[in-house]
Amino acid sequence: MTMPIALFQAAAPGSQPHVIPWLIFTLVKLIAVFTVYMVGVALLTLAERKISAWIQDRHGPNRVKIFGLGPGGLGQPFADGVKNFVKEETYPAAANLPLFVLAPALAFIPALVTWAVIPFAAPWDSPWGRIEMVLAPLPVGFLFILAISSLGVYGIVLAGWSSNNKYALLGGLRSSAQMISYEIAMGMSTIPVLLLAGNVTLSKIVDQQAFGTWNVLNLTVAFFIFMVAAFAETNRLPFDLPEAESELIAGYHSEYSAMKFSLFFIAEYANMVTASALMATLFFGGWDIPFWLWDNVAPHTGLKTLATLAFFAAKVLFFVFVYMWIRWTLPRFRYDQLMSLGWKFLLPLALGYIVAIATTIVTLDALGFARGSVPFHLGLILLNVAAVVILFVLLDRGRVISPAYSRLDAREVEKLREMSTPRRATAFLPESGD
């Protein structure tokens, strides 16, 4: 009987906890994160509808209350949930059933799994040892995220294919093309972050930002690329071509009903939350409280954990709001615009930016400025200001996103016109000689 008690005994602050407390805390974290995440996602559907309503001068859902209490509309997600559970499941006769059933789960799981490696608060030195506020403190956290988030496309592609519906297939194809294109830009845009942190562990990236400056100040261009790519990855407007209602009915989930459709819906919002958490972690200091080192140094009390958790939640919710804000502002891209933005603009930009940042870091190192020191960050910020000016003022001449014609040089347009003139002239000549 002494063994288990020994395992429960207090450990020195900052040391690793014993196996059993570690197991218990991991389970508690798992349940807490999963619950908060799922309830949060449900509430986000309400938030989306409310925000869209306010932006469009409407009221939004304001009827369903929880047991007659609370502001109207708060019960809407639960009403929707009940509705989706009791609705009829339809299976198209020509669908490939195993894949048709599997696809929603495949879309949903990667969104959840990604969350496992995101640190959501400062570690807590409990009486049983240090508890990391991340479900799985993977040393290769960031690579894990890149690997898992690419899996999300399988759910969508399989859904599109197995439905045996032309619109669903088109949606699935668009989605695969889009996600593969933007994944490259997304991965490339984060390399400057890794260069600065010198590590792929997310908690180390957060620490580096906490003791230096947030990456958004150093690497605004990378943040911009990452944000655009994240929008494309999550199939949100202005990149919602896979489900373009007006062209493809609902794209890959045209044939889905009831809870299977709902799973795609939840997956979209879960992806949004995860992408927002990544933006916060990689570029906005994660759980770091700005202008204050109190949260980053020992002793790591429970209060610090709670405060940093609140800050992290605020950052994530802000990005989720930006997602919704942009969705209800921008119209959908045309397919060629989407592709040219991804391949011809974001990818070269990301590659060039890696070179620029790497050169700057090497130069600053060679000049003898220590990493994280003020001159080091000043150098980066100066480069950053120059890059932002070049990108958004000088390059922004209708070329970043453009209607098809302006990609041609004016002289080329003239040449094409001249080429076409004789043919046009003969084509419209009245038939003579008869």
Binding site: R58, H59, N62, W325, T329, L330, I401, L408, A410
Partner: protein
């Protein structure tokens, strides 16, 4: 691009995607915080309707609870939709009253002629629009039903006071 398409040279302000995006986002944000909500929350909140609104009918009653109608037959005569069915009767004192008075609200075109023509100011079109039924038969209003209606009635247009002031 297809050859021969007219290419319009536009100033940067019109072709810049970044600027257009930021303008748009400022615009939506403004609406987000100061929404000009015009939606009427219908069952609780109702739009006011015109004094001359012509809705479903109502038969006015005398003080002793009988229909004002004397069965003169003017309203079925004037009705362009032929939706009023009237069978007049007479009691032992010689007072005329309707034995049957039915209005088929589905056939009615709500012109309001019946109200205008009525010498006793008995039949009226009402200021009322919430009148759904579960069956077509429910829309044939008999005398009892017409007398039981309580909604306000239409004020007819007065040529001397065209704006209704």
């Amino acid at each position: 691009m297809s050859i021969g398409v007219k290419v319009v040279e536009r100033p940067i302000e019109q072709t810049s995607y970044v600027r257009a995006t930021l303008t748009g986002m400022a615009h939506t944000l403004k609406h987000l915080f100061t929404p000009e909500q015009v939606t009427t929350q219908y069952p609780e909140q109702k739009e006011s309707i015109s004094k001359r609104w012509r809705g479903t009918h109502r038969m006015l009653t005398t003080e002793d609870g009988k229909a004002k109608c004397v069965g003169c037959g003017l309203c079925p005569t004037v009705c362009p939709a032929n939706c009023i069915k009237l069978v007049p009767g007479e009691d032992e004192k010689g007072n005329r009253y309707p034995l049957v008075f039915e209005i088929d609200e589905f056939r009615c075109i709500f012109c309001g002629y019946c109200q205008e023509v009525c010498p006793e100011e008995a039949i009226h079109v009402g200021r009322h629009y919430e009148n759904s039924e579960y069956s077509r038969e429910g829309f044939v209003y008999d005398l009892e039903r017409l007398m039981a209606q309580t909604h306000p009635v239409c004020e007819m247009w007065d040529p001397a006071d065209p704006k209704g002031e």
